[in-house]
């Protein structure tokens, strides 16, 4: 099971999902209306590297992080 973390202000507990790629994660979130607002502005990291392709294969033990807009300093 891959782990999904919702970082910063999303303030949701992590979940575990059984998926082969990010497209399946997108489908998994499809009906979560509240999450959709965040997904529009969140970037996605797999094992702490930002990714930008839905066909990114996901293995068990992978960590997927959703990163809302940032503002350090």
């Amino acid at each position: 099971m891959a782990k999904v973390e919702f970082l910063g202000p999303m303030a949701r507990p992590s979940i575990e999902v059984d998926i082969q790629n990010l497209q399946e994660l997108k489908t998994f979130f499809k009906h979560d209306a509240q999450l959709q607002e965040w997904l529009a502005i969140c970037a996605v990291a797999v094992n702490d590297t930002l990714v930008c392709a839905l066909d990114m294969p996901i293995s068990s033990n992978d960590k997927i992080s959703l990163l809302p807009p940032v503002c350090g300093g």
Binding site: K26, A43, L50, C52, P69, G72
Partner: protein
């Protein structure tokens, strides 16, 4: 070197420590950028969450870029609450060359603002309010959004 501190940064001590550790290394220029929380819009302060694994990757990539120009970067950032008129962020560059150092502190701070995985909250009446409208979406944002394909 990247340091994360709980609460406000002890600016005098950090600058003294960095200068002391760098002054004998034959760098000609030391330029710290110190960010201080401004009292505006009725906030009591700011608060920060940091995702350390990606912050470390981002910082290490910049350190490699600095090294390629014989420069070196230092950074300190607060976690948690930082009250008005105290500091949450210090970045610094040392370089043998003034022009390299001046350009790098500018580029490093601007890239930090756009890309470091840190989330800012206003502290208003003791509560954290995500500073969404002042935040910048990261590269590739929206990847998982429902696209209403037919």
């Amino acid at each position: 070197m990247l340091e994360l501190h709980a609460g406000s940064l002890h600016v005098e001590a950090i600058l003294a420590s960095w200068y002391s550790s760098m002054k004998d290394k034959n760098y000609g220029a030391f330029i710290p950028f110190v960010g201080i929380v401004r009292d505006e819009d009725g906030i009591e302060g700011l608060s920060f969450d940091i995702y350390e694994p990606i912050l470390n990757n981002w910082f290490n990539a910049w350190q490699a870029k600095a090294k390629a120009q014989n420069a070196y970067l230092l950074m300190a950032h607060s976690k948690g609450d930082v009250l008005n008129h105290t500091s949450s962020y210090i970045a610094a560059v040392v370089s043998p060359k003034r022009k390299v150092a001046l350009k790098m502190i500018n580029d490093f701070v601007e890239d930090f603002k756009a890309n470091a995985p840190i989330w800012k909250y206003d502290i208003i009446e003791g509560k954290r309010v995500y500073a969404k409208e002042r935040s910048t979406a990261l590269q590739g944002h929206g990847l998982l959004k429902e696209t209403h394909e037919s």
